[in-house]
């Protein structure tokens, strides 16, 4: 049988989960024997192909991210949520206690070093913020949850290995973390 295909997307998050994935270090060589990395932030595919495993790193904070999550769900047999942002919403949801207007004005008008006499707020060619930042499973069905900020490299690898063994993984308590 051909290698299972994996695509990963990086939505509303800090990329720490992808960095933690790279922290499997030399073991990546092994992994790449067994799986095929397609579209990821570290490869050059612009289009998400049909894949066996789709990984979401990050929560859903704007229209574009929502669209991407849905695209990935369509293309992937199994969806993994990587990290607190994808699983619980994470630190992004701290803006949910304020209106998007206040958050944007806070960032682009009221910050000390900003010189913005006309009160320009980015819009149009940039995707609009959703009223609230949300966990991935508020937008698409998620099959495997891997909490952690970020999850340890070992945990990320464990989940892939379980899937390669044909099991639907569940992160065991001794590997699970929320920070």
């Amino acid at each position: 049988m051909s290698k299972p295909k994996i695509a990963t997307v990086w939505l509303e998050a800090c990329a720490g989960c992808h960095m933690s994935f790279l922290d499997i270090d030399e073991r990546i060589v092994d992994l790449l024997d067994k799986v095929e990395l397609t579209a990821t932030p570290i490869t050059d595919f612009k289009e998400i192909p049909e894949v066996d495993i789709g990984v979401i790193d990050g929560g859903i904070g704007n229209e574009e991210e929502k669209h991407i999550a849905q695209e990935l769900r369509k293309k992937a047999k199994i969806i993994i949520a990587w990290g607190d942002c994808a699983v619980f919403g994470g630190i992004n949801t701290m803006r949910n206690f304020m209106s998007t207007k206040d958050v944007l004005e806070g960032g682009y008008i009221h910050t000390a070093s900003t010189v913005n006499p006309d009160g320009v707020i980015p819009h149009g060619e940039v995707p609009a913020l959703l009223p609230q930042a949300l966990p991935a499973d508020n937008v698409v069905k998620v099959d495997v949850y891997v909490p952690g900020c970020p999850p340890d490299a070992d945990t990320i690898l464990y989940v892939f290995q379980e899937l390669l063994e044909g099991r639907m993984p569940k992160v065991p308590s001794d590997m699970m973390r929320y920070d």
């Binding site: 960095m19 990821t40 050059d44 904070g61 803006r95 958050v103 980015p122 940039v126 900020c149």
Partner: protein, 477 residues
């Protein structure tokens, strides 16, 4: 653009293999000539806003979540701002442990940028098949080099984990110092690995020098622009952790040099509607004249010299490239980056050999809080500024962050436009051209998650819009 019937719009989205995502749009006229090109950062999270009301002591743990690639930079810049709020001078041991972790950060982050993300272009060439032109291809074709790069990054990450408990989002610096000392056996273990790591870096230096020599003119011309350069210096020497902010002009004159806590008098941020990423500039020259570049190229241009022997010698060689010693070639950022890994390793060695490094004098406490704290540090991608204001009990009332990548925002926009103009002829847009434009961004290795962080997994499209604005033709890669 809708009013111009024949304008075509090309989107490269996302820009992969940079740590953080953006999108490039190119607008062509009916003859397929470039009208303009822009680099968009398409996401915003609002840390400056939602940190209000938190205890300032939490900031060194909150702010690293801005960026998973250089969390240590935020951790340390934040801790420095917090020291200022406490009004304390931290102990020598704490200061050196922080700088040590910072060097680990430079090694891992620069290694990632060079080996995992940029070297594929150098080794496979811009026009190679995207399916192999990435770290996966690298592992397949150059396993030896790939593994060395991986191990170099691992070395930096392990150092961070030892002090901070985790490789990503560590937990070590606190207001007034650090929460853990370095054990002697740990010190010895890392010290023993440094020479091997230096070897890897020398190899990388050879690689990048060779590439640049081979592609002489193209490499020198690629997205090259004359700008001013900003970076921290300490008595004129390259400084990554704790120094004054220096702005050096395109002709090598020091335009300004000021203490980090004076930054607000010198640096402002401009806002454009098309990007969530702001445009910092030097206030006296205004925007865009006051735009400058930061990061490896910015730092090695801004400083007079480097105070570690091997890196100093390499810098001298680097300076020989141009008559006035100022290197504007954008591609040479990779060169400067590898040179900095060398410095980071040498500095790390010095620190590990310093008796203070295993000291147990970790913290200074204070109970009278200052109303404001500023922490400035050189993140791998450039100067990072954290500025907090607190009430008398220490709750955050205001927060201002200028992140490394932001400083290069204007340069990146100009860069993609230059490349678009140079390479896109008669509307012919090849994979190679696409990737060249991306590589402009990649040179600056922007950590867009820092700056706000972007994303957008639209397929790359060449769109030809009709007079009525309807889509006539769309070519998907």
């Amino acid at each position: 653009m809708a009013d111009n019937p024949a304008v075509r719009k090309i989107e490269i989205n996302p820009i992969t293999r940079i740590e953080g995502h953006g999108k490039i749009t190119v607008n062509l006229d009916e003859k397929g000539e470039v009208l303009g090109a822009r680099f968009h950062v398409t996401q915003f999270r609002g840390f400056e806003v939602f940190s209000k009301g938190r205890d300032f002591r939490e900031m060194p743990v909150i702010t690293p979540r801005i960026c998973g690639i250089c969390p240590v930079s935020h951790h340390l810049a934040s801790a420095k701002a917090c020291d200022m709020i406490l009004g304390v001078e931290i102990t020598p041991t704490a200061h050196k442990l922080r700088e040590l972790m910072h060097m680990g950060q430079f090694v891992q982050s620069h290694a990632l940028s060079f080996f995992h993300l940029s070297s594929p272009d150098l080794l496979f060439g811009f026009d190679a098949d995207p399916a192999i032109r990435n770290v996966v291809g690298l592992v397949a074709k150059f396993p030896d080099l790939a593994v060395k790069g991986v191990m170099l990054r691992k070395f930096g990450q392990e150092l961070i984990k030892t002090l901070g408990g985790k490789k990503v989002h560590p937990w070590h610096s606190i207001p007034g110092g650090v929460n853990r000392s370095l054990r002697v056996e740990e010190r010895d273990a890392f010290l023993a690995q440094v020479p091997g790591m230096k070897e890897t870096v020398r190899e990388a230096l050879g690689l990048i020098k060779g590439y640049l020599a081979e592609h002489g003119e193209e490499a020198k011309k690629f997205a090259t622009m004359e700008t001013a350069y900003l970076g921290l210096v300490n008595g004129g020497f390259l400084e990554l952790f704790d120094g004054d902010i220096r702005l050096k002009g395109p002709r090598g004159r020091v335009i300004d040099e000021f203490a980090d806590w004076e930054y607000l008098d010198h640096i402002g941020e401009h806002v454009e509607a098309f990007s969530y990423l702001k445009f910092p500039y030097y206030l006296p020259l205004g925007f865009p004249n006051g735009s400058y570049r930061v990061g490896p190229l910015g730092r090695v241009n801004a400083c007079d010299d480097i105070d570690t022997p091997e890196a100093s010698a390499e810098l001298a060689a680097f300076r020989m490239l141009t008559p006035d010693g100022i290197v504007h070639y954008t591609m040479y950022t990779h060169y400067a980056r590898v040179l900095e890994i060398l410095y980071a390793l040498e500095r790390m060695e010095e620190l590990l050999q310093d008796p203070d490094i295993t000291g147990s004098d970790l913290r200074i406490t204070s109970n009278d809080l200052q109303p404001e704290g500023i922490g400035v540090i050189e993140a791998p991608r450039g100067t990072l500024i954290h500025n907090y204001w607190v009430d008398e009990k220490g709750a955050m009332t205001q927060c201002n962050l200028i992140v490394a990548t932001g400083h290069n925002n204007y340069a990146m926009n100009r860069g993609v436009e230059m490349v678009a103009r140079d390479f896109i002829k008669g509307g012919e847009v090849t994979e190679g051209i696409m990737n060249r434009m991306e590589h402009v961004i990649r040179c600056y290795d922007p950590c867009l998650s820092c700056s706000t962080h972007a994303v957008g997994k639209m397929p790359l499209a060449l769109e030809i819009m009709g007079a009525d604005g309807t889509l006539l033709r769309k070519i998907l890669r």
